[in-house]
Point group: C2
């Protein structure tokens, strides 16, 4: 029986209006996404400051700890208490995190939008990951792209955020936006942990508006999600890591177009759905 952590449900506005002057010299207002620092303390020890939109800070912190491999199981976390008045997330673990100093010492500045401090040796761990068998049909892929197109979002109202989503087939389970897309995927990881043991990644598809960097690929694999779809492209490290993992990466996915970069055996192609060549 898994004990789930106690979480606050801290909320804060996701957009704000600012004054602007346009090319006609006219004053107006524009909506921009919120962006606030959230300093994470683990058992009263300062760990990191995350800059976030702030939609789901507790899931974000839980997913951050998970994806950084600082916590191995959700029941190690007793509570996460977020207070936006002071910009602090206080994490209480049941038994402490072993060797936390040592495990957060290595610093890699990654390519992906934002992350940067991927602690430790995530790259070394990819050899240990075995992704479940799973496939996606071209029809389901088009369903995913269409669901994203229809989704109401901070991006539509304010721009300047990345969106990520978790799908089962073409059914959207969760849609998350953040000013850094690493936050968005960490938030999904945190949410998934809270659904366990009901939730595993094997029949899931991860969607991101951002590039398929090595970091996004690794995080998806860590969550056990073997298929990743993006409207953007792929980086070389993302391509290499996905190839090693046997993870299916699909990019440039807009309307009926896409490119499958790796793991094409997971894609059930239905070229008849693609229409006619332009």
């Amino acid at each position: 029986m898994q004990r789930l952590p106690t979480l606050t449900r801290a909320r804060a506005p996701l957009t704000r209006a600012i004054d602007v002057v346009d090319e006609f010299g006219e004053r107006g207002t524009a909506s921009i996404p919120a962006e606030r620092p959230l300093t994470v303390y683990v058992d009263k020890r300062e760990l990191v400051t995350l800059m976030t939109l702030g939609a789901h800070p507790e899931w974000l912190v839980l997913g951050y700890l998970r994806n950084q491999r600082l916590v191995g199981s959700v029941d190690e976390v007793e509570s996460i208490t977020v207070d936006w008045d002071v910009g602090v997330a206080a994490v209480k673990t049941r038994t402490g995190i072993e060797r936390i100093e040592e495990r957060t010492a290595k610093r890699v500045v990654t390519t992906g939008c934002g992350q940067g401090s991927v602690f430790g040796d995530l790259m070394d761990e990819i050899d240990t990951i075995r992704l479940p068998a799973a496939t996606l049909t071209q029809a389901q892929l088009y369903g995913i792209v269409n669901a994203i197109r229809l989704q109401e979002s901070t991006y539509k109202s304010a721009g300047s955020v990345h969106g990520c989503a978790l799908f089962r087939g073409e059914e959207m389970l969760l849609f998350v936006e953040d000013v850094g897309r690493h936050n968005a995927i960490d938030t999904i990881a945190g949410w998934m942990w809270l659904q366990e043991p009901l939730m595993d990644g094997g029949d899931k598809v991860f969607y991101t508006t951002g590039r398929l960097t090595s970091e996004m690929v690794i995080k998806s694999a860590q969550m056990g999600v073997p298929i990743v779809v993006s409207r953007s492209g792929i980086t070389q490290m993302g391509h290499e890591v996905a190839g090693k993992l046997g993870l299916c990466t699909v990019g440039r996915a807009t309307n009926r177009r896409f490119l499958c970069y790796t793991g094409v055996e997971r894609l059930v192609l239905q070229p008849a759905l693609a229409g006619t060549r332009p």
Copy 2:
């Protein structure tokens, strides 16, 4: 008389071709940007690993040290030796960096594409920055947007990179791309340092394809560049920091459209150039 560091000129391919499968089920190739780890050693001590396209690694490392405030003057650096065979940049300083352990201890995961490990207290330093008086006319702004449009780029051939450029008025001095835009701006910072004392930022304009995050604003201010232009939007922290600095931020700059978010007094508006409202 300033002593400039000795730099290698390490080169490596900027794109590679990968196999893809498209929506018609047909195999082909696509070009993607290179992305390689560069581990920076300062006086034989490992500092950080940067993931980079690799176009100008020596300027990147120099600018990284500058923007992280680890080196206060270019003549503190004796040499930077990059060897792509091993993915290493060896920095030799003339007299060592004081308290380097302490100064690289604080960790902030930023929003911007990639940076993440902005060491130390950059945010605390913004109060000490005084930006020079400088203005930009709307005609020059349009010249900048047009120069970027015409620029040959890895982005055009392979996508998935950010571009940054340094302008004097509408004259492009340097155009840099990287898989992380923090790398692109650091590369510009490194290059500017090598031009000093001829080069100061006061009459310069910084252009970025990416969002105007607090990090981009701070880095521009650190280089003494008081005007920043982007084709993308602005984040809340970017807006706040730019406001405090009196830095001019212009976003959504495409064709003849733009929005000025802060520092509009630096913009010489010429609404007649904007054409007619759509």
